[in-house]
Symmetry: C2
Subunit: 393 residues, 2 copies
Amino acid sequence: MSTKYAALNPTPRVLMGPGPSNVPPAVYRAMGLPLVGHLDPQFIALMEEVKQMLRDVMLTKNAMTFPVSGTGSAGMEFCCVNLIEPGDEALICINGVFGTRMTDVAQRCGALVTNVKAPWGRIIEPDDVAATLKTMKAPKLVGIVHAETSTGAWQPMEEISRIVHEHGALLLMDCVTSLGGCPVRVDDWQVDAAYSGTQKCLSCPPGLAPVTLGPRALEKATKRKTKVASWYFDVNLLASYWGQDRVYHHTAPVTMNYALREALRLVLEEGLENRWARHERNHRALKAGLEAIGITIASQEGHQLWPLNSATIPAGADDAAVRKALLQRYSLEIGGGLGELKGKTWRIGLMGESSREENVMLFLSGLGAVLNELGCKTGTAAALAAAREVYSR
Amino acid sequence: MSTKYAALNPTPRVLMGPGPSNVPPAVYRAMGLPLVGHLDPQFIALMEEVKQMLRDVMLTKNAMTFPVSGTGSAGMEFCCVNLIEPGDEALICINGVFGTRMTDVAQRCGALVTNVKAPWGRIIEPDDVAATLKTMKAPKLVGIVHAETSTGAWQPMEEISRIVHEHGALLLMDCVTSLGGCPVRVDDWQVDAAYSGTQKCLSCPPGLAPVTLGPRALEKATKRKTKVASWYFDVNLLASYWGQDRVYHHTAPVTMNYALREALRLVLEEGLENRWARHERNHRALKAGLEAIGITIASQEGHQLWPLNSATIPAGADDAAVRKALLQRYSLEIGGGLGELKGKTWRIGLMGESSREENVMLFLSGLGAVLNELGCKTGTAAALAAAREVYSR
């Protein structure tokens, strides 16, 4: 049987899709370090470091800040199963795939969900949240996506947070695509619960979901009348493992935690402000380059994410053919549109390690060449010049 | 902040606890391979390989065989949330921690659970299962642990499987600690659903839970009247991603899947029969060595697992002090007892890569030395000779 399966030898990719992003060499090295047990004093020391580093990156003092042992969507599920009891009224905002998903998850937890919607690509308006909350009896939770990975919309949080708390509800924020790539201020914004993923702007492979629960959220989770429906995600059990008791719950993904620690160390070494500025700069260059060849960013002007650029596919361009050519000839991955935007947008990620000047230039060169070959006239030189102009400022 | 966190540099361990086990160099190398996207054609090809390799290792033809994106306990939760509807009668067998846990998980899924119990360390008697099933109205599922990691008991499956199916129930098997270390025959035993972990006898870091669902289990999951309470673990959604549709569900832990593929490749290269024989041989040597110094295996004679040896702590020996000395001086990890067996047993794992002659000899040497120093007279030389005698056969 030894000959049946060849040695694994994947062709390297430039990862400019909606995640995962490229992984820095130091993070690969961390995964090669010797595995230790999940209750080894060395791992317990690492757990404390990871918790503190996550607090530093999420800008929170919440004690209950740690990586859930699953991917980003596991973070969403962790928050919902712990914070929602059957029959609770919840308001979930939908302006893309992930608000839709959160609605599904919340309903499975027994929530009576009311939605506030905005067109895909646009942000949720605070007035709509306020008006809808007024129609609800006792809203317990408001869920909203900070960075909608399916559309590239960047949701302002502060005004909505104020409104949510006026109504006595908890604020749950999805920051899967924003954490590490643009400001995420959990404490300043008084976010009660937030979850993220490792494989976007933290540039760690997928496999963990950083989460944080503030005091009000924790009170809800610990004082609920019904048992949490999920054993795997029950914070009351997880707190004994990730807290000071170190009671065995499940076997933490040790190697993924090595990777996350190193990825977070690199984020803090670069500095949050510097890292955000880098993401902004590369976004601006990409946007300038695209606009120079007539391709617009599909999300709402003034609310366009730096890490995830939703580009309107130009008339006459074959969505799949362009992505396939970029992958085959440049080994460069971008994402297609999701849901309502399928076939209408490309999703170009500039996240973490992938947010680099050379990636912007390679992508614009490659896109120009591919579009030309497929019969769409583009001015590749103009695109490159426009991007270069941003970098020369 | 760059100086706040030192470079990660864990001291290597000889992992002889209840898992994780040591990871082979080739698996570390696999994790260093360039990350690709979770919808990349290269990853999709790998998914198909991993599914087939898992079938080969689990000895099943079940199409729905794949790794759940979480650790072993996530596999337990995956099976329960999909196979149990609120109000379903379930019989869960308890002879250790993991049957207790399965009861908790099943109850959170809304099951009306009846337990069949056996003393910790002993196996579940088929007659008890038969007698209890007769008292139930319409038992839908019987859950049982094949290899009880907390006690080292090795459960025979065939007779119980026959009884379960006579009553029209589904058979759910926990093979977290047995898969890859002793025979696990999903199809021969007519197991309807089984879950495992990667970090035991497969010698891959923790982070994935191989699962398999047979036709009857799949029918239950797809035709259930109520929505699965978990979005993350809903097989109806996961089937679209791991099946031929490739519909995005969550972002699979790509690097962990690289690791699992390589770990499975090594298992198949060694050959299941050879691998089982290696586990048996090292177990026998360890047992002979321990018995030579008066330490018995705590689990039921004739039903003692090869990968996990539950050793009775000798009178006068300080449980924690011995484990601490082994860790500090030999960098060798063994596990303490869990639950009822806390302070009464040590759990000595000989799993996958850790199941090696040199580890058996190192452990017996180290244990002898540590016990002597702590005032327990042991005959280390006799232990080593007894083990060596097994290897010389």
